[in-house]
Symmetry: C2
Subunit: 309 residues, 2 copies
């Protein structure tokens, strides 16, 4: 059992519990709350909130109820993006994780609205994160406001949404597809941006009131935050390329050009490993600078790329 | 010229300027920023941000650059809702204000994504409202966080989104349509919730650091905030009923049941006037309690219901 497996065993049920609890009261209409829950509570591995929590744990910080709650916001965003991506006008997928997609089950208008409600709700989760706090361990309002700002940046038209815009061009075979476009204009915003957010959120939440960075100056913290953002982004890029390698068969059906199609399996695997190597180097630098930082968990994240995480 | 006309002449260009400026840099892709701008910069009267600013002015408070910016966030939400409402799977409208709707002009997938980006961007506007401040008149982070929370509440599955869910049932003639359902489950969340938010946002922003309430205790401020929320909601209900009265002819084509269909023109007009009377009473109470409060502007909002505001 790796450290990550143990960590997941402990925190996955708590993440699920938080999501379930918030989704249960997410709408004034219980039928609609159920639709929202259907979209989110689908047996996912919760990679994004898990990354946030893992970063907090790596800095030896306590995962408070408020931190747990704010970490789950990104999962609402991720879930809404899948609901909208599956729509007939987008990828037109009738199934998601072996079950009917939201529009297949509830209708197209409902799926658009469920997605809208989840996206809106994500910002409620962030802004109300302290509401779960019972031990007076509130996150500073200034910090939550900044996380809200970063979430909208990474999820919106500088991040995930614009990645999907470009990906649609790929689906329609409208784009001039080359390696740089695929990596920088599709994979980076569509997949890596939210994982980058998840990692930097963990770093920020670790350092709001902490003395964990050996040299606890603002510059040191800012360097650490940036390193985690890049770590999450590298992880996201490697994760996406691995996903492409795993899905090679399906792509022929979907007529989408992924990195392995473009440069071959070997070169794509090398690209993936380059991101992983860079991410490991970031952890090495961080461990050198900050003696309280334990790299084991985050190393495990990198090691299981390609496993069913 | 009413006080409101003068106020609109002064502030409409400033609201437009703020929207234009933020939308111009809303995406890393300039084509997509243009699509987002197309959805928002359509000659609207900016009723919602105007209401926020009017409330601030009614309390004799200065409209700072930060307040102007935060007031415009609701317009991003309003614009996204129109883009998604116009989609083929929803109201299937090819035109909006005499111009092609976003999906008619740019395609359905793009319209979904433009809406998503606008909704996400609204929360960026709130969380970065202080960025426009050059005179050290920041809004407290705690206050912006609360406004972000209230915006998500009023825009999401307790407000606007759930109103649209119910409205779809009306479009499809699936609902058991009666007066209570129409008023409480459709009009209140779909139209009145955002206007309620706009009004209470103005009240909150007036009282963050102010001494304007005669009895400046927390209870007095909280009473004032609630009164403005109800004022905005009443205004929204009256506004929606008036809209129904104005659109009576079109409804036959769209097969939607509105209040005048259900109870007749006279009874619907009486309902509208009941909301207006209630709203006026709130202003009277407020003016009695708070001598710094000038009701003229907000009275004008009520008086022009039915005019082209």
């Amino acid at each position: 059992m790796t450290k990550l497996t143990a960590f997941q065993s402990e925190w996955l049920p708590k993440i699920e519990q938080q999501l379930k609890q918030d989704l249960g009261v997410a709408s004034r209409d219980s039928d609609f709350s159920e639709m929202m829950s259907y979209a989110v509570l689908n047996g996912g591995k919760r990679l994004r909130p898990m990354l946030t929590l893992a970063v907090v744990a790596s800095f030896g910080q306590k995962i408070t109820p408020s931190i747990l709650k704010v970490a789950t916001a990104v999962e609402w965003v991720h879930a809404y993006s899948l609901v909208h991506d599956d729509l007939p006008a987008m990828d037109n997928d009738l199934f998601r994780r072996g079950k009917p997609s939201v529009h297949a089950r509830y209708g197209e208008a409902e799926a658009i609205l469920v997605g809208d409600a989840l996206l809106t709700g994500a910002f409620h989760v962030v802004s109300s994160a302290n509401s779960t706090d019972t031990e007076n361990e509130n996150i500073a309002a200034k910090e939550l406001l900044l996380l809200s700002q970063m979430l909208s940046y990474h999820a919106g038209a500088f991040g995930m949404v614009i990645g999907q815009v470009e990906d649609m061009k790929n689906h329609r075979q409208e784009a001039k597809i080359d390696v740089n476009w695929l990596l920088n204009d599709v994979y980076a915003p569509k997949t890596a941006a939210l994982l980058g957010f998840s990692a930097i959120a963990g770093s920020r939440l670790s350092h709001v009131n902490s003395n964990s960075v050996a040299d606890n100056s603002e510059i040191a913290i800012s360097t650490t935050n940036s390193a985690l953002l890049t770590f999450g982004t590298d992880f996201g890029m490697a994760f996406q390329i691995q996903d492409d390698l795993d899905d090679l068969d399906q792509d022929d059906v979907e007529k989408i050009t992924s990195l392995p199609h473009l440069i071959g399996i070997t070169a794509a695997s090398e690209k993936r490993d380059k991101y992983l190597t860079h991410a490991r180097q970031l952890l090495t630098d961080l461990a050198t600078r900050d003696l309280t930082f334990d790299r084991t968990l985050l190393d495990d994240f990198l090691n299981v790329i390609g496993d069913d995480i």
